[in-house]
Structure formats: structure tokens, C-alpha cells
């Protein structure tokens, strides 16, 4: 075999290898995108779970409180001494709650914050006691790499409500 032919063969093989590798990379990226969209779905479902749990809770620890002046101070948000998840009884018990949920092999870090907000500015926490509480559920995972800070955030504003006689 002449040197020229050998070089042509080697060049052909290098070209084939390059095409194969780039095809593999594209397949891998395709898989990563699909897996991440699946993880985002799971993360949203998880965040929604905590919001729905809070939905079933009282607005304030004091069941008889009906005016902002008698609601819990924002600085006192969080579970009382005898309250543990999942037996929270009011929305602000979820404040500063954090846990790690492992789904399959994927860890999801859950962080929840609860703040008072005003209806005219629902995304601006206030220290004043109001008729509105905003719950912010952050789900982070190293596998949510397509999202900024590997994190997705769901927020829900709860208005003062009274469900049933207790």
C-alpha cells in the first residue's frame, strides 16, 4: 500500500471517529435534556405538595385571631415547641422548614419560607402583620442544572381564612 493511500485511509477513519463522537455527544445531550425536564416535573410536584399541605392549615396559630393585630409576629414564625412536620397546624409553621427528599437516586433539597405580604405588593415581604402570607418553596438539586442556581421556586399567597369550627 502506498503512503498516500495509507494517509487517505487514516484521514477517513479520523473523520468517521469524529462524526461518531459528535453523534454520541448529541445523543447524550438529548438524554440529559429529557432527564432534566423529568426532574423539573418531579420538583414542581414536590413543591406543590408542601403548598397544598399548608392550604389545609389555619391561617394563624391563634384560631380565634381575626384581625392582623392579633396574628403571630413575623419574627415568631416557625413551629411551636410541640409541633413537628407533618403535624403543622398553621401556615407559618412551615417557615424555615427544610428537608432533603430522595427520589430514586436524585436528592431534592426543600427550603420553605413564609412571610407576611401586602395584597398590593405580593412579592415583597413585610414585617407588619397583614391578612396575607406568602409561602415560598425552593427545590434545589445538583441535577436541576438547566435552572439558575440549580433551583426552582414556587410561591403561593394565602389570604386570611377560617375553615371550620375546631
Amino acid at each position: 500500500m502506498h503512503l498516500g493511500n495509507t494517509l487517505f485511509t487514516i484521514a477517513g477513519l479520523v473523520l468517521l471517529s469524529t462524526i461518531t463522537l459528535s453523534l454520541n455527544t448529541s445523543i447524550l445531550q438529548n438524554h440529559v435534556v429529557l432527564l432534566q425536564s423529568e426532574q423539573i416535573l418531579e420538583g414542581i410536584a414536590l413543591a406543590q405538595k408542601y403548598i397544598e399541605e399548608a392550604e389545609a392549615c389555619r391561617y394563624d396559630e391563634d384560631g380565634s385571631a381575626t384581625i392582623p393585630g392579633s396574628f403571630t409576629y413575623a419574627a415568631s414564625f416557625g413551629p411551636d415547641d410541640n409541633e413537628v412536620y407533618p403535624y403543622f397546624d398553621d401556615i407559618d409553621d412551615f417557615d424555615d422548614f427544610s428537608t432533603t427528599i430522595v427520589s430514586g437516586t436524585i436528592p431534592y433539597q426543600v427550603d420553605i419560607e413564609v412571610d407576611y405580604v401586602n395584597d398590593y405588593s405580593p412579592d415583597q415581604p413585610t414585617t407588619s402583620r397583614t391578612y396575607f402570607k406568602r409561602m415560598q418553596v425552593s427545590i434545589s438539586s445538583p441535577f436541576l442544572s438547566t435552572l439558575a442556581s440549580h433551583k426552582l421556586v414556587l410561591k403561593r399567597m394565602f389570604a386570611f381564612h377560617y375553615f371550620y369550627s375546631e
Binding site: 500500500m1 485511509t9 445523543i27 423529568e38 416535573l41 397544598e52 403543622f88 369550627s165
Partner: protein, 195 residues
Amino acid sequence: MNAMQDVLIALIIIGMVIVTSLRVDSNAKSNAVIARHDEIAQSSMKIITDYVEEDFRRIGHGLIVPSKAITLADSSRIIFSYDKNPSAVFDSIRIEYKTEPANTTENPYDKILIRRLNYGASLGAALGVTRFKLTYFNQYGNVLPTPVVSDSLSKIREIEMLIIINSTESMENQYARAQYVTRFTPKNLLVRYGS
């Protein structure tokens, strides 16, 4: 002799190139199919959860006694009612969700999630639901054993739903999978009007 040797080497190299090309082509095709199955599973999940969420959130809506909205609650079957349009004529509807085997698909484990309205025809498509599990909680967050006995139906405050969808067809014995676990608190079950 040299020419013969060159031809043989060339044939071997061409053979290797052809085999490699075919394998790459086959891998690319099977991966495209797997990705498509994955995408279909996620789309199916979106379709199903949209329906279920809309219905579950409206349990008891517009009824005179919302706490009696759920009439059957089992681990994979539920029957409930709500008023479709409370601002108009009272038109309470009864909705049933249950699963039935999907005999027409390749996947031996998938089921059809049926939504049945007012004793009418059962509607559902073979979207690859392999698991549909419902868990019920009372106002204290305690799990109610299933099937929920009739005395406890009015105690249901939250419903946790687990849906697992697998593709209806396999690729190299692999089924695409999507999972969704979430919880619903139908607001009308938190309200107690009348008795």
C-alpha cells in the same frame, strides 16, 4: 502479490468502516426512539395530571354539603361530585376515576386511567399508566386506611396522588418512565356549611 495484499487490507478496512457506520446508525435510531418514548411519557403525564388536578381541586365545589362530595375512596379508585357551574342551574356531576387493564398495548403492566362522568361511557386512553395510587389524609395529617370506610369519607381533607407512566412500547426491553407525586387539598372539603 502486493496488489492482492492491498485489496485484502482495503476490504478489511471497508468492512470495519461499514460495521462501525451501521452500529452508529442503529444506536442513533434506537436512542431517538428512546428519547421519543420519554417525551411521550412526559406529555402523557401532563395530559393526565391536568385532568386530575382540575377535577380534584373542584371536589365539593358548589355543593350544599361539600363534606359529602366523596362517596368512594380507595387506593386506585375514587368517586366524587361537584357542581360544574355553581353560578347557573344546580348541575352536580359525579366523577369516577379508576384503572382498567390496557390489553392492546405492548407493555404488560400498563393500565388505562378511566374518567367516568355521571354513569356515562368510560373515557380513557392507553397512555401507559402503570401506577395510580391515592392516599387520603384527615385534617390532622393522618393517613386514612383504604378503602376509606363510609363514616370516614367526610374526614378526607387531602389527597396524595402518585402516578407512574411508562411508555406503551419498549426499546431494547426498556420502557421510558415518568413519575409524579403530589398532594391536593380541595378547598371545599375544608369548609363545613350546614350539617
